[in-house]
Every structure is written in C-alpha cells, then in structure tokens.
C-alpha cells in the first residue's frame, strides 16, 4: 500500500491517527551510524508517526548547540548525504514503515546534485526533503524535482515570517514545519506566548498538516500546542536523552537498556496529547 502512494500522501497519512503526531528528529550517524538505524526502529515502536533524519553539516546555521554536537560526532564517522541515505535504506530493510523526511542544508545538496539526491531518496525509501536554509524564493528548481519524484519539499514558517506566512503556507506540501519560537533549535523552558495566535494564522492558509518544532522538550509543552497543530517535532531534547543513554547504547550488553530509556522518554512526551 505504501508504494502506491506519493511521498506527500504518505506523510499526510501519518498525521491522521486521531492524535497529535509525534515527529522525532535524529542526526544520521549519531551516536554511531549503526545505532542510528536501531534508534529509528525504537522510535517507531514507541509511537513516532514520522521520522526526521538530519544530515550532519559543519556549518549548520539553523541548529543549536545540542544538534551541532551530535553533528560533529556523526561527521567524525564520515556521515554525508550519501551515508545518511544508506542508513535510511537500512532502516527500511529492517522494518521501518513510518515516513522519513531528510533534513539537510542546501550546500551539500547542491554539491551532491539536486536530482541525484531525489533519485537516491527514492531508492532509499525517503519520503520528503527539508532544507532549512532554502527559502521558498530560492526553491523553484528543487520544488520542480520534488514534484517529479513525488517527494515533497517541506517548508518552514516562523512567527517572524509575518507577511510571508500566506506565501509559504499556501505553497506547503506534505506538512508545514512551524518554528515555535524565535531562534535556533534547543531546549527551552517555555514556549513563545504568541505562538497560538501565529498557529491559528498558519492554519488559516495551510491545506496540509501543521507541525510545531524548535524548543519542545516536555509533554506539557507538547500538549500546549496540541489543539493548534497536528503534530510536534522533538530534536534537541531527544538528542540530549540519547547522549545520556550513549554509554549504555555503545555497549552491546546494555544496549537494550539504553533503548528502553529512550523509548520511555518519547512515550512520556506523547502522554498528554
């Protein structure tokens, strides 16, 4: 069934389970390439609706210190777009069914070749592409390829977008990624108070599901945005938890215990939505 649908349809379907979709972000190659594959499966088991798979990059403008650290570690294993897509293919081979969105900066995409990225996404079973530093104004060529390969380009919208909200939201395919608070990814203790107003405006224009990310680290925060969005993305807080479990994950004898800690954390994150 999965193969007869387009990437956009698969992504949209991931949001229709009747509750807020939980979308984990992990960095490909962190803490090691092999463990990334198992992590994806553990996250699926713990209720993830969609997986955001980050390609590590040395010049990551949109990421906070947690993701930067994870990227540096993944880069030390030589993880690039090619390797990240191989890991995605491994995940599929080992039973990952949820949609996967590849998160990468624009420079590596151009270096690798835009069309080649889509071809290999198709081969690896990756459903969509998110490029945080590619504003819609610069995205025409990649949007055309996304259409051709039936793998949507996911756009981001921020509270600062103001007049840009309508332009971005009406162009969105798959889902629309709402940056919950100003600034870069990281763990924040409180969400932006103007967020609900912003989300209401976004939903007015978007015809695809709306997910909130950047700064969600607790079940309380997830429930705060639940009535105004269709899903929530957790990146930095999850990577912090993985870091905490890293010694256990790296030891074959305690690996399962490490995955249990992570699964418990993500189940807890979903407990109030």
């Amino acid at each position: 069934m999965m193969n007869v649908k387009t990437g956009a349809e698969r992504i949209i379907a991931a949001f229709s389970a009747g509750k807020q979709a939980f979308i984990p972000f992990i960095t490909a190659g962190y803490p090691t390439p092999n463990i990334t594959v198992e992590l994806a499966l553990a996250l699926q088991e713990a209720g993830a609706a969609l997986l955001e798979l980050g390609v590590p990059y040395s010049d990551p403008l949109a990421d906070g210190p947690t993701i930067q650290r994870a990227s540096a570690q993944a880069l030390s294993y030589g993880v690039t777009i090619r390797r990240a897509l191989e890991l995605a293919a491994d995940m599929r081979a080992r039973g990952l069914r949820i949609p996967v969105v590849l998160f990468t900066y624009i420079n590596p995409v151009l270096q690798y070749g835009e069309e080649r990225v889509f071809k290999e996404m198709e081969a690896a079973g990756v459903d969509g592409l998110l490029i945080p530093d590619l504003p819609p104004e610069e995205a025409e060529n990649i949007e055309r390829l996304a259409e051709e390969f039936n793998r949507p380009l996911i756009f981001m919208v921020a509270p600062t977008s103001e007049q840009r909200v309508a332009m971005i939201a009406t162009r969105a395919k798959g889902f629309l990624y709402c940056v919950s608070s100003l600034g870069v990814t990281g763990v924040r203790s409180a969400l932006d108070p103007g967020l609900t107003r912003f989300l209401a405006r976004v939903r007015q224009y978007a015809s695809v599901p709306v997910a909130v990310g950047f700064g969600i680290s607790t079940a309380e925060q997830a429930s705060l945005v639940a009535s105004y969005s269709d899903g929530f993305i957790v990146g930095s807080a999850l990577l912090e938890k993985i870091k905490e479990a890293e010694p256990l994950l790296l030891n074959p004898e305690t690996k399962e215990e490490g995955f249990c800690i992570i699964k418990r954390f993500v189940k807890q994150l979903q407990s109030r939505v």
């Binding site: 990059y57 040395s58 010049d59 990551p60 403008l61 949109a62 906070g64 210190p65 930067q68 540096a72 690039t80 624009i106 420079n107 590596p108 151009l110 270096q111 690798y112 945080p132 530093d133 590619l134 504003p135 104004e137 610069e138 756009f155 981001m156 919208v157 921020a158 509270p159 600062t160 977008s161 103001e162 840009r164 971005i168 940056v179 100003l182 600034g183 870069v184």
Partner: protein, 398 residues
C-alpha cells in the same frame, strides 16, 4: 538595485539569501530600511559629516614616487585607507551601518570579527554613539589577537569567545547570525565584509564605495585621465569592491583583485576561492568557495588573518564570471617582501593584507610604461602586524 545586481540580491548567479526562515524576515526588514535611508539627504549628510570629522576623509591618493622610480614603470598611486581613524577601510562601512542602526532604533549592535579589525572598528563607532556592543570572535582568534580583544574591551564592547568548531571566523559569523535571529527586534547585526546573505553584500559595497569615488576623482584631478589599473587585496572583498564598483563602467580601467596564495595552491595552504575554488553556498550566500571533497567549507591558510576566509563576496564572484576583473594570487613570502619594501621606500608600513595588493603592483609596474598609472588600495596600516612579522623574523613561529 544597482546595475550589477541582475535580480534582487543577485550578482549573476551569485549572492542570494540562504538562511533559515526565522532570519529571513529580519533580513527583509533590514533591506527595506536600507533602501529607505540610503538616498535620504539627511542620512547622507550625517554620514558625510562623520566620515569627514571623525574618520578623516577624504584620505589622500598618494603618488608613491620612490617606489615607482625604484621599479621603473607605471606610476603607482596609493589610496590611503590606512590613514582613516582606526587604521583601515573597515570604519567606512561601520559608520554607515551604525547610522542605519540608529535610524532603525536598535540599542544593541553585534558583529563578528576574525583578526579583530572589524571588531575594533565596530566597538569604536558604538563607543562614539553610546550603543551597546557585542563582538563575536572565535576562541582561537581571541588568543592569537589578545591585544585586539583588549582594544575592544577598552572601547566598552563585550567580546564573546566562540567555542564551536575550529573556533575561528566562520564560527564567529554563525554565532552572530544566531544572536541576530533571536534578537533582531532590538539588535543590529553589523556585518564587516561584502559577504553574507542579501542585503549585506549590497550594503557593504554601498558604504565602501566612497573609496572608489574619491580615488576616481582624485586620479582625474592629478592625471587628467582614468588609471590603467586598480588593484586591491580580496578576502571577503569589502575594500576591493569599494574601490572597484565606481570603476565598473570605465571599461578601459583594468581591475585586479589579489587573493592570498598562502604557501601554495594545494588544499589547505591558501585562501583563494576565486582563483582555486568553485561555486558553493557558505554563510547564506552563493559564491566561489574553497571546498573539501564533500563540498563543505574547507580549511584555509594565509599569513594575513584578514584574508583567511573560504568564501568571497558574491559581487567579486560575478566580476570574475563575466571577466570584468582578473583575480590573481600573491603568496605569503611575496606579501612579506612587499611589507618590507613599502616600509623602506615610502615610510609606510602596510597591513599584511594590503601588502598582497602592493606585491602585485610591484610585479606589474615594471611591465608597463611610465605614462601608465596604477591605483593600489592601501586598505590598512601595518602596525597590527609588526609583532607577527617580528616573531617570524626571529623564528618564534606565529
């Protein structure tokens, strides 16, 4: 939009704005405000006032007679940006942007700095206008340039040592952009070179063009014609684009940008993206850049910290692509030789960055005839480099 901007924010295929969405709105706002003020008479009168009374403009176009006679060829003129307050061209852009920040109601100014020159210039202007100033600098650079850190602090700025990655300029730019994305409502990001996402390359070129406008008029007055060559060193490329842009339409004037050849053109040994790089995206804009095998920004080297950057301004990338300017390299040793030569023949100690331009002029002049002229942008003074050169001469390493 200037004549070389082929579409908004683009110079041919170069430039653009590749930044995360939270930053894009801030840049849109900056662009609107810049367009609103840049031709406003009050704004320009105030800028002119400070450039004259505080910076000390116009600075001379000096005929370097002894150097010319020694080389035996074209007449060499030096555009004396080294005589500006704070000792380099950086202050031209800083004054323009600080006045823009004031108009925009910003209370806090942030900037990145590599060797510390742009940081010092920014801290200077902020002190003079009583604005809060935060300078991001790679931790490695704060160690190498401890005296400049002290200068900035002396001027009342807060210097933040950036501890990410290689802890140099690239990371300092990232840290400043992140601060800007979070605080843009109250903060002005004062970018120091003709790089970064739109509208920065356009803003910096606009404020640095005073160099070329003055030099063009001064040369016409002294020689009754335009120069045959204009030469400047290129790191990010702000002093160079400031000299070049007003000559863009003067097709008979040959434009030469001098990149740092370091220890040679092998990977990691130079910082010459226009000569030895390929198009890519760095710090939110498309330009020629030095890349590793995966296309990521690669390590660079230059004796001149102010030229040690893997990317280059989009407008230079365009000048190269259309053949309007020629870009060449001068290596560390040649730059050092020119540093000594100018000091001895003219009594002017040039910045090690500017020495790259001087070195190329010294190669070129003897091949030209005495009725031809060259303008070299002497972008900064070399006092800051004396210690480094002393250490190198006494084999103490850098």
């Amino acid at each position: 939009m200037s004549k070389v901007e082929t579409k908004k924010g683009y110079f041919g295929e170069f430039g653009g704005s590749f930044v995360p969405e939270p930053l894009q709105a801030a840049l849109d706002h900056l662009e609107q405000e810049f367009e609103r003020y840049k031709d406003e008479p009050d704004f320009n009168a105030e800028l002119e006032h400070y450039l004259k009374e505080y910076v000390g403009r116009p600075n001379p176009l000096y005929y370097a007679q002894r150097l010319t006679e020694k080389l035996g060829g074209a007449k060499i003129y030096l555009k004396r940006e080294d005589l500006n307050h704070t000792g380099a061209h950086k202050i031209n852009n800083v004054m323009g942007q600080v006045l823009l920040a004031k108009r925009m109601g910003a209370k806090r100014v942030i900037a990145e700095t590599g060797a510390g020159q742009h940081g010092v210039a920014t801290a200077t202007a902020c002190a003079m206008f009583g604005m809060e100033c935060v300078i991001y600098m790679g931790e490695e650079d704060t160690r190498r340039q401890a005296l400049n850190v002290f200068r900035m602090e002396l001027l009342g700025a807060k210097v933040v040592a950036v501890k990410d990655g290689a802890r140099t300029l690239k990371e300092a730019v990232d840290a400043a952009l992140k601060d800007y994305a979070e605080n843009y409502e109250s903060t002005f990001y004062l970018l120091g070179s003709a790089v970064g996402p739109h509208p920065y390359p356009t803003i910096v070129r606009h404020f640095q063009s005073v160099i070329g406008r003055e030099a063009r008029a001064q040369h016409l007055e002294k020689e009754g014609k335009l120069p045959d060559y204009i030469i400047a060193c290129v790191g990010g490329g702000s002093n160079a684009i400031g000299l070049f842009a007003p000559f863009f339409d003067d097709k008979e004037v040959r434009i030469v940008g001098v990149e740092p050849g370091g220890k040679g053109l092998a990977p990691g040994q130079h910082a010459a993206p226009l000569v030895a790089g390929e198009p890519g995206i760095i710090h939110g804009f498309k330009c020629y850049m030095i890349k590793d095998e995966n296309g990521e920004p690669a390590a660079t080297h230059s004796i001149a910290a102010g030229l040690d950057y893997p990317g280059v301004g989009p407008e230079h990338s365009y000048y190269k692509a259309i053949g309007r300017a020629k870009y060449v390299t001068i290596d560390d040793a040649e730059a050092l030789e020119a540093f000594h030569a100018l000091s001895r023949t003219e009594g002017i100690i040039p910045a090690i960055e500017s020495s790259h331009a001087v070195a190329y002029a010294m190669k070129l002049a003897p091949t030209l005839s005495p009725n031809q002229t060259i303008i070299v942008n002497l972008s900064g003074r070399g006092d800051k480099d004396v210690q480094q050169v002393f250490n190198m001469m006494h084999n103490k390493g850098q």
